[in-house]
Every structure is written in C-alpha cells, then in structure tokens.
C-alpha cells in the first residue's frame, strides 16, 4: 500500500483499528457513522451487530474482561451514544479497557441542536477514563493510538472517541504512529527498594497474615504469583467479588470471598489478622463495612496501580503504587517459608463453625443456591460464569468454586442489571472454545434479552440460566430485612403485588414472561425446570450441547443471601440463615 495514500477519515479509522490489533468490533449503525460502516465490510476484523447499543457496549466489556484486551464498540451519534452510557459507567467502575467510537454531527453543526446531536464528550466525561472529540480527519490515527494506550495503561478504563461526520468524510494522509507519546500521562510506577524491603519484613514478621486479592490481581496476570507466595509462607487468601478466580477456592488456604456476603472465615480472619496484604483492591464499602472496625488489628499493605485508590477508604501502613505482578515477583524470593500453624488452625475452626450453607424452605421447590451448585457440577467448575446483578450474582460468587482467572465476570462496582447476557456473548465470542454460562435473574434478564439473537446468529456455546424467583430478589430481601416486609415494586408475579399497582389478581399464568418461549423466539433451545431432580441433568444437557440455550429454573422466591453483614456494620453483626 502506498504510505502517503489519501483516504477518508473513516477508512483511516478502520486502518488504525486494524493497526491497534482489533480482532472484533461490536456496534450498531446510524446516520452519523454510515461512512465508518461503509468501510467495515472490507476490514480485517470481525463485526458483531448487537440489538441495542447498551448491549453492544456490554459485549465489548465482556470481551475485554475475558481476554484482557480492549473491547471495541462503534455507535451512532445522539441516542446511539446515550444508550452506551450504562455500558461505559460499568466498565469505568471495574477498570475494564474499552474503546468506544461514537459518530457526531458535522463540526459546523455542533451546538445547533442538530438532528441526533448530543454533547457526547460532555455526557461521557464522568463515566469514562478519557474522551476525545476529533476536529479533523488528520487527527484520527494518532487519537486512536492514544485511546488504546490510555484504555490499557495505568488503571484500565473506557475511552471515547467522538468523530464528527465531516471528519469521517474528509481526506487525510495521516498514518498510525509507531509509538504513542502523551505529554502529561505517564501512569507507570514501580515500587522502591525501601518499600520492597518493608513489605518483605512485614510478611516475614507477621503471625496472622491474610492476603486479600482483588480484580487488580487478575488484571495484572498475577494469580500464579499470589499462589506461590501463599503456599511458601502458608498465608490464607481471601478475595473480593472482582478477585474471584485469582486464587483457587479448592485450595485449603482459600478463605473464598470476603465482604458483605463473604464467608464467615474470610471476614473473621480479616478482623483478626495482624497483617492484611491487599492486592489490587479498592476497599469499597461493600467489602469493608464499618470502616473503624475494619481489619482493626492489622497493619495494612495496599498495592495498586492507581495512586488515587491508595488510602482513599482505608488508612494504610504501606501503600505501593505499582503493578501487582511486578511487586509479587520481586518480593517472592525474600519471603521465608512459614507454617503459621496456630493461625491456620484458628481459620479451620471458623470454616467449620460457619460453612457456606442454606436451608431448603420446601422439599419440592428448588433453592436458587442449588442451581449454582448444579452449574458447577455440570461444568466441573470450568465454565466461564457471567452474572447479572442481584441475589443470583451473590449466590454465583458463593456457591460456585472459582478457580480460574477471568472465568467469573460480573458488574461489581456499578452493579448493572442487564449486564449478564450481552457480556456473556462478548466473552463467548472472545473464547469460543470455552463453555460460557450467563446466570441472570428474572428481572435483569428482561433488560437486555434481545441480545440473545447474537448468540444464536454466531452459534455460540452459551447457556443462559435464568434463576426465576418471581421477584427482584435483592430488593425484596432488603425490604424484608430493613423495611418490615413492605414489598413495594419488587414483585414480578401478579400474585403478591401491592394494591397501589391496581392489578387484577386473575391472570391465568403468574410468571410472565415465559422465558422459554422468549428464548425459542430468538432461535435458542430452551428448557424449564421445576422439579429438583431434573435440575442438574437439564443444565448438563444444555451446556454440553455447545449451542445457544436457555434454562429457566423456577426457584424458591423467599430465599435470601446469607451470610450478610448489614451495610455500615462489622463482622460481629453478621446475620446467618
């Protein structure tokens, strides 16, 4: 190809995406991106057409979470762009690398309330890591390179490139840069020798250490290094929700998940520890509960790539701004072997005292926790689990034995209902050799169900499991526990709805919609399970088919997520089933 060849800004964009290594582009067309779509048909990467821009954005997010590579998405101006806001915010909170390209009205029309004009850079500023408004076609290759750099360096996040239509049409000879240099953004930072020496000493001096691993461990690819140090010095490991998969939960050193719905052993151990080594975590309020009581006996070491996260919520004794993997590989040789026998004995006692368990409420009715156990059994714990948000999300965290990084994908920070199905599609497209299971509630599944068509079109090995409890379970649970059982707006069946909704209680079918009919209408195989004996065989059949399928499981509506530390409380206030 002639290097100085003149081509349109749209063509330069597609070329730049190819140079950036893009293999899959998710998106949805419209007037302001017609020039870009016109070039997509001869692009080297695959294009995946979603059915709603929120869905396309979550697909790019799921693709990124499952691979670590940036997810890329293109949408039109105005409503196309505003439909992606939830997708951006979700990725931004969880530090997921993404590049979103939005069309914009021509530069000359910006600010005139033109058709499908929205102030995209203004609107996305607070929910993205960075954004660009392109002013000329000549800027496109450089801005694309910068966007990918920013999305993937420092704490990863979504970057928006807003491209006015006239810039897509204008001619340019600008080329994709060999390397990116940003004047003001240099996020790389490494631990100092003194910090490393202190960390090693603290580790070797500790009597009751706990490693506390978050999403940053997975993002930096440090799971093996965590395991190496834990095994050498017999240090128990707890994780956050985002850290599930960073440490094998079958390992006797695993405390499993800590926090509001974490295990008794994990929360007890953190409360009693004399050293907490927090790796790639944010100390979010769902984790810490009452701050004054959090890890109050412990010295806290916090390693994170984001300087702004260190000391933000919890005071630390040693804060290290660096890549988690770099820190662990460096400190590893200085960690002495230790048995911590007394400490591990205490922990074993806490595990035995309060194992993760639930009580069936009715022998003929499936408990939702059982569904998650069945998915674990049917997939030998090897499925990529993508959750929606609610009670089922917590049960997936608690009752699946997580052991593989990037095999548990969930909207942690934002808690976005509607994430599950499209993110699972993105993950399945990224790794078609894996079994992917999206676990959704009956509420969240309705938010982005339309995307199931994409799984069918691409014959993805994806099973959607809808845990149908007939209600917005997590809301219902809080109303039961904290609002005297006033189930306002949280019941999805007609039966049990409050009087102010003015519903006739005479429906012949109480559970609407029929998810199996919905799935079939979208071209997927579908099964409904009510009988506990059929649960695991049905899930096994669906998952092993390797085809897009949906299993709707009617479960006990009154089940709650336990243990639970009510917001703002400490571990001693844990409520059990």
């Amino acid at each position: 190809m002639n290097h100085n060849a003149e081509r349109s800004g749209a063509r330069a964009l597609v070329e730049s995406l190819e140079k950036a290594g893009v293999e899959v582009l998710f998106g949805y067309p419209g007037g302001a991106v017609l020039d870009i779509f016109n070039c997509l048909t001869d692009a080297k990467f695959q294009f995946i057409l979603g059915r709603h821009e929120q869905g396309s954005a979550h697909m790019a997010d799921g693709y990124a979470r499952s691979t670590g590579k940036p997810g890329v998405c293109v949408v039109t101006s105005g409503p196309g762009a505003t439909n992606t806001i939830t997708g951006l915010a979700t990725a931004n909170m969880d530090g997921v690398p993404m590049v979103l390209i939005t069309g914009q009205v021509p530069l000359s029309q910006i600010g005139t309330d033109a058709f499908q004009e929205a102030d995209t850079t203004g609107i996305t500023r607070a929910v993205s890591k960075h954004n660009f408004l392109v002013h000329s076609a000549d800027e496109i290759p450089e801005i694309v390179a910068q966007a990918f750099y920013i999305a993937t360096h420092g704490k990863p996040g979504p970057v928006v490139i807003d491209i006015p239509k006239n810039c897509q049409q204008a001619k340019t000879t600008a080329q994709y840069p060999e390397r990116v240099s940003l004047r003001a953004y240099h996020p790389e930072s490494a631990a100092t020798g003194t910090q490393m020496a202190r960390l090693a000493k603290m580790l070797n001096d500790a009597k009751r250490p706990v490693i506390y691993a978050g999403g940053g461990v997975i993002a930096s690819g440090a799971a093996k290094d965590v395991a190496a140090i834990a095994h050498r010095a017999n240090i128990p490991v707890a994780t956050t929700l985002m850290g599930l998969g960073a440490f094998d939960e079958h390992d006797p050193l695993s405390l499993r998940m800590a926090g509001m719905h974490g295990t008794w052993a994990a929360n007890r151990a953190i409360a009693d520890a004399d050293l907490l080594i927090a790796l790639g975590v944010r100390f979010n309020d769902r984790i810490t509960g009452k701050l004054a009581k959090y890890a109050s006996k412990a010295k806290i070491v916090h390693v994170d790539c984001d300087p702004a996260s260190i000391g933000k919520n919890v005071g630390v004794d040693l804060g290290i701004v660096a890549d988690v993997k770099d820190v662990l590989t460096t400190v590893s040789s200085r960690v002495k072997s230790a048995s911590h026998a007394d400490w591990l004995e205490k922990i074993a006692a806490w595990k035995a005292e309060r194992p993760m368990s639930y009580k069936p409420l009715h022998e003929a009715v499936i408990m939702p926790q059982q569904v998650v156990e069945a998915i674990d059994a049917a997939t030998d714990g090897r499925a990529v689990i993508v959750t929606d948000v609610g009670q089922h999300q917590m049960w997936c965290a608690q009752y699946f034995r997580h052991s593989i990084p990037r095999h548990f994908l969930s909207s942690g920070g934002m808690g976005t209902m509607g994430f599950g199905i499209p993110a699972a599609i993105g993950a399945a497209i990224a790794r078609p050799d894996h079994m992917t299971v999206a676990v959704c509630g009956d509420g969240g599944a309705q938010m982005t169900f339309e995307e199931l068509v994409v799984a069918v079109e691409h014959k993805l090995p994806l099973t959607v499991v809808v845990i149908n409890n007939g209600c917005l379970g997590m809301v219902r649970q809080w109303q039961e526990l904290f609002y005297k059982g006033n189930y306002s707006g949280s019941i999805l069946t007609v039966k049990g709805r409050s009087a102010n909704e003015h519903l006739e209680q005479d429906l012949e079918y109480d559970y609407l919609p029929d998810f199996t009919m919905m799935a079939k209408a979208h071209g997927a195989a579908a099964y409904r399970v009510i009988d506990p004996a059929k649960l695991e065989p049905t899930i096994r059949k669906a998952v092993k088919s390797g085809k897009p399928s949906l299993v709707e499981v009617i479960v006990e509506p009154r089940a709650n997520v336990y243990p639970m530390i009510p917001g703002g409380h400490g571990v001693e206030d844990t409520v059990f089933d």
Binding site: L182, Y185, G311
Partner: protein
C-alpha cells in the same frame, strides 16, 4: 459528599494542564462532581502556548485535598499539580 463541618481550610491548587478544548470542563467536573465547592477559579495562559495554568481554591480538609490532587494527577491532560493551604 464531604462533611460540611469538616470543611475548614481553603486550599489553593496550582494546576498546569494541556491547553486543549474540554480540559477546563474536565477539571472542574472532577472537583464539583465529588461534591466539593470551588471558591475561586482562575485560568490563564503560560509562556508556553500549549500549556494553561489553573488556580483553583477549594474548601476542604487535607484528606480531601489529597484525593483531589491524586485524581487530578490521574487525568490524561494534567501536567502538574501543586497545592498549599491559604490563610482564611
């Protein structure tokens, strides 16, 4: 949101940023979006035409200020930030 009773000191932030469209909005949004009130804001050119200087006075505690500084330094267009406490 900051605790109103804790807002006792005025801090002056001196911020050198790339002179590009949208940067002012980004910086102001970052501070006001976290519930902190900007008392005074002053933006002007420097000898280097590609760099602007922002002087921002915010009411807050030292901890708040530290967070704002860290967040500002995380911004792609922020070259340098310093701060000092001002007499009330």
């Amino acid at each position: 949101m900051p605790d109103k009773n804790a807002l006792t000191e005025i801090y002056r932030l001196n911020c050198f940023v790339e002179n590009k469209p949208g940067v002012l909005a980004r910086i102001v949004g970052l501070i006001s979006g976290r519930g902190y009130n900007i008392q005074t804001l002053n933006v002007g050119p420097t000898e280097d035409g590609t760099v602007s200087r922002m002087r921002i006075d915010v009411l807050g505690t030292e901890k708040v200020l530290e967070q704002i500084m860290l967040q500002l330094r995380n911004q792609v267009n922020v070259i340098e930030v310093t701060s000092r406490r001002r007499q009330q």
